[in-house]
Amino acid sequence: MSVLVYTESENGSFKKTAFEVVSYAKAIATELGTTLTAVSINADNTSELGVYGADKVLEITNDSLANFDAQGYADAISQAAASQDATVVVLSQTANAKFMAPLVAVNLEAGYVSNVVALPQSTSPFKIKHSVYTNKAFSLTQINTPVKIIGLGKNAYGLHENAADALSEPFSPTLQQSNTKVISVDKATDKVTIADAEVVVSAGRGLKGPENWGMIEEMATILGAATACSKPVSDMGWRSHGEHVGQTGKPVAASLYIAIGISGAIQHLAGINSSKVKVVINTDPEAPFFKAADYGIIGDAFEIVPQLNEKLKAFKAQNA
């Protein structure tokens, strides 16, 4: 018996979510009285995982996994889990992790619960809380299979240091030729993604037109934030679909979500429910967003946002 955690990296460096899933998986390993093994794919500095509690790291180095391939990654992680006799496998909820998790579950004949928000309430029977109805509710779900797969929601547990050895050993999975080839990747490398962002600056129809997004981009730059938008804004083509936040768009689990000129439709609010602190700036005091936010300013975005940007710049300069 052991706990296995997959630690995702990009260009050799671990993502922040990798440290969060290690922190979380360590807590489960401790609860079960067993060790934590991490598995990495083409990552450079695996000793970093020891900071958060990895006792052992299975390092996979394989050129055929240079591009993400769900089948190949799923097989590699499944074989790593089997080699460790893992009874719990922890994954994050990045796009790639969500892509391969169901494949890992079939490989390991495991029950899989996604969007998990807390440590298991009990481990025998194994009961765990996860968000359902697009963050409008939680379910306490019991997993009946010997092997359990947990998809931990971003920012649901946080980082917890817990020094361990992170003894690394190479691991060579047996991979099949993949039927799916990556032709091209289109990703802005200079921008923070909504998935990775701690702060998200989001704007809606209140901005009146795509030409007015300069001040939103500026705020995002000052705060090191990702930009996002409401559904009507993406439907009208003012911003790309990739920025649409809400029930049919992206969920946002940021530390700080700033909504500018967004009225707060129920579908939008569901999408941001797992963000910690929400700020709304809107001219309409009756906008539903004011009922869902922590802080608000009633006023015109075209007056307030430029002022806020100036003050934030000064604040960041002072607190840098």
Partner: protein
């Protein structure tokens, strides 16, 4: 090309979510059920394949008789036949197993599901179906072109998109982007009339036991009232000193 579109029967996006029976059951009182939005984008893309490339389109749902109006709606939109697997949808794996059985027996080339259902948000059924039947799989699919058995697809990744090439048989987890919101179809009277006479096959479920089961539900704790401030200085001060997020 034979296409199978998997349809989840879900509360519409404006629904208030409540639970009954000591928080063990979803309260359907006053709730309007619809085709899961992610599935509807896929169904609409399937209609394009039907009209431009002569594909046949079947829709399928795992659920009780109460889901039939949702399947009829899919028929009214233009699907040729519907299948209902007569068993309650429990965990994702059980649903995937039922769908995989039909997908394999029916010899479908393309199986279209949604990225996730908006009720359980499991995000696992299409991937599991693909793995069980040994088909290729693309998740968060936002563009799909098929020529003979060659597939070019675009999937959304964190912070961008990726273009992929693969082959049929294929399962996708679709979402907005497969078609635009404005491409979605509201069934017209002719479609609704035709849907009444299209086949809706009810099939018995295969026996299996759930790998996981929901025990109880709860709703998020109510939030405190919003703190309204007048100046941006006050806002920055609160975010820094009180919320500690700046």
């Amino acid at each position: 090309m034979k296409i199978l579109v998997c349809i989840s029967h879900v509360p519409d996006t404006t629904s208030k979510i409540n639970f009954t029976d000591n928080d063990t059951k979803f309260d359907i009182n006053g709730v309007n059920f619809v085709i899961n939005p992610n599935d509807e984008f896929g169904l609409t893309r399937a209609m394009w394949f039907k009209e431009k490339q002569g594909a046949s389109v079947h829709v399928i749902n795992v659920g009780g008789p109460q889901t039939e109006p949702t399947l009829r709606k899919a028929l009214a939109i233009g699907a040729d036949e519907a299948i209902r697997i007569d068993t309650p949808a429990t965990d994702g794996y059980s649903v995937a197993l039922q769908l995989a059985h039909v997908a394999k027996e029916g010899g479908y080339d393309l199986i279209i599901g949604g990225r996730e259902s908006i009720d359980y948000n499991g995000g696992m059924v299409p991937g599991m179906v693909a793995k069980i039947i040994g088909a290729n799989f693309i998740n968060t699919c936002i563009s799909l072109e098929v020529e003979d058995t060659k597939v070019t697809a675009i999937r959304e990744i964190d912070g961008g998109k990726e273009t992929l090439q693969t082959t049929l048989p294929l399962v996708i987890g679709g979402q907005k982007g497969l078609v635009e919101e404005s491409d979605l179809r509201i069934p017209n009277m002719r479609g609704i009339m035709q849907a009444r006479s299209k086949p809706l096959h009810v099939k018995p479920a295969m026996e299996q036991s759930p790998r996981s089961e929901a025990t109880t539900y709860e709703k998020p704790a109510p939030r405190g009232a919003v703190k309204l401030v007048d100046t941006v200085d006050q806002l920055i001060d609160l975010l820094h000193n009180e919320a500690k997020v700046l």
